[in-house]
Subunit: 372 residues, 2 copies
């Protein structure tokens, strides 16, 4: 961290760009460093004499494996390694078997085995569970199996070829792991943690904004409204990103405050509940822009209890978000539950004059109490 | 189609599996065929004499490029082609320049150029717009640039090497295009079209189910409810899949009823409106499971108008979905608009006794009228 701060160029760039862009720049520079490191296999004579043309595979590994998040790099690298070993092993067997037969049968057997393994592996790639975590590994399996089985017909020393390639892939992998995990690592777990906790804040702000908007006078409303539902929408559409991040985070080793078998699955569940709540929030859009709305007077009647409820809902959300962020047990739980109960009662009293807008809160509480 | 039906094995498998699985199987078999075709470069002596070890690149191209949807294959293939050409060209330049300098400066210049291009290209991969459509191309650019620049130090005939590799990649690409586009193609456009139209039906069914559930007697409710919101949820979370499919569909050539510059962007917009509507539907969940609900009598009061409105909403949705499916102008538009207007009036009358449950429909209409 110190080192990075002392470089004037990086300081300048950092001022120019937001925190997010700095991370992108860090990642790009890390990739550049890894590429130069792995190119040394070609550039330095003593190393080149050892590995020869196979250095190509190390470069390929670095380019293909190096991903933005440390977990993604690790997962791709392990997938590639296992896929290569399995594919190479089976490929050798197929080639050896084909050579036993010899003659024209040789080529036919290789062709048939390529077809069968290709079909089976491709089909397995389409199974959702495998696709999610091992897609890349299966692809590498197909590739390696094919290359080894087919070139086994020509090269006499398949085993040696396979061993050399594997060793260069391991070299590329270690360069990746070194730069990805040890030099300013970008953890998918951190990202997931931050994005989840910031969503609590987003929702709290949306509730407040929404209520404010709702109780504005008509005259004010005609001015451009500053309130938008876009944070709600982004919460709503966070599902696929969450799943991706959780998937990477599972591969990541112990770091920072996250232990080894950290329950990333729970993040997904909390995310689900937040999305439900965002969906509820979005449905208030209709009330805000509706013209056949209850009169101003009616709104005035329910204004006070609604605002009380709204602000304590927002407070509750912030409290929960904060406690997840700091990873401590929510100390105020004992406070929150009775508070929500009393809010519900207050609301059902306010409902008895039964004015329309009321529903929007009772609904929110429905979900908030669902969080518990 | 005829040919596929006549094979007994495929018939048998088709009976066993659903339509979706048949497509997966078709895809797997197509990949198998493509792999065998491209392996012929190794297996047949006359072909092998022409291409030699470079046949490896053809196999690699097939394995990496061949995707489930025709559009995805095409997009990856073109990305790979353009990335290889650009990377190869720049790599040759860098290698030539380095050779001019000679000596130790040679290696240093190659190292610096690898670093600069690596950083720049990696950073551009993180720009959302480029990431969405050209991610793979940029990756291949980095890879090819590196390999060519670095091996330029060793091999004298870089140009020839590059040309041979490019020609084998083109071979692999043509095998892919042939099997992917001409043999039972699986179009991303068709998939997007079908999934969008089926969502109209899903929502219509959800509206009906939701109303039915709402007006059930309490006693009945205690039985297990058959109604679930899962179709609504799947509509809600369709965003990322839609964007992926539309992205692939844009690459696909003219096929079936879809023209060349078919407005796939509009599908995304319609999808957005449907997701808004699904979010509204989901917010009714609160009403269904709420215990502090309006009494049975109050519900009875509004039952009739609600059911009328609900069924015509469902009808409208089905009509719209049908018209998009058959790609004809919706003939009933002149009917729908006044119908929705009269529904809205009917509802505002029903609201005057101001019972709670009413809101759930006025809200649905809000959105339905928003569709127009």
């Amino acid at each position: 961290k110190k080192f990075q701060d002392s470089l004037p160029i990086i300081c300048f760039l950092r001022e120019m760009k937001s925190k997010h862009d700095t991370r992108k720049l860090t990642h790009s520079i890390k990739v550049g460093i890894a590429l130069v490191l792995v190119s040394l296999l070609y550039l330095l004579d003593p190393l080149y004499k050892q590995v020869g043309e196979n250095a190509m595979w190390a470069i390929m590994t670095v380019v293909v494996i190096f991903e933005f998040y440390a977990g993604a790099t690790l997962s791709k690298g392990l997938n590639r390694g296992v896929g290569t070993i399995l594919g190479g092993g089976l490929g050798c067997l197929a080639a050896a078997f084909a050579q036993e037969v010899g003659g024209i049968g040789n080529g036919i057997i290789v062709g048939i085995s390529v077809f069968i393994f290709g079909v089976a592996a491709t089909y397995s790639r389409l199974v959702p569970k495998i696709k999610k975590r091992y897609d890349y590994g299966v692809m590498i399996f197909i590739l390696t199996f094919n290359l080894v089985a087919v070139s086994g017909l020509r090269a006499e020393k398949v085993m040696q070829l396979a061993r050399e390639r594997l060793s260069t892939i391991v070299m590329g992998f270690s360069v990746c792991i070194f730069t990805s995990l040890l030099v300013f690592p970008i953890w998918a777990g951190d990202e997931l943690h931050d994005s989840l906790t910031s969503r609590f804040e987003d929702l709290a702000r949306s509730i407040e904004g929404c209520l404010e908007e709702y109780f504005k006078f008509v005259a004010e409303k005609e001015k451009q409204s500053s309130f938008s539902f876009s944070p709600c929408k982004s919460v709503l559409h966070s599902k696929s990103k969450d799943e991706l991040l959780a998937n990477f985070a599972r591969w990541e080793p112990w770091h920072g405050k996250f232990g080894f078998s950290y329950p990333w699955g729970k993040y997904l569940k909390i995310g689900e509940v937040l999305r439900d709540m965002a969906a509820n929030m979005l449905s208030f859009k209709g009330y805000l822009h509706s013209s056949t709305q209850s009169s101003q007077d009616a709104r005035g009647l329910i204004k006070e209890p609604c605002e009380v409820v709204g602000s304590s809902l927002a407070w509750t959300l912030r409290e929960l978000g904060e406690s997840i962020k700091k990873m401590r047990k929510c100390e105020t739980t004992s406070l929150i539950t009775p508070k929500l109960k009393s809010m519900r009662q207050e609301l059902s009293q306010a409902i008895s004059p039964s004015t329309l807008g009321e529903l929007e809160n009772s609904d929110g509480i429905e979900i908030a109490s669902f969080v518990f």
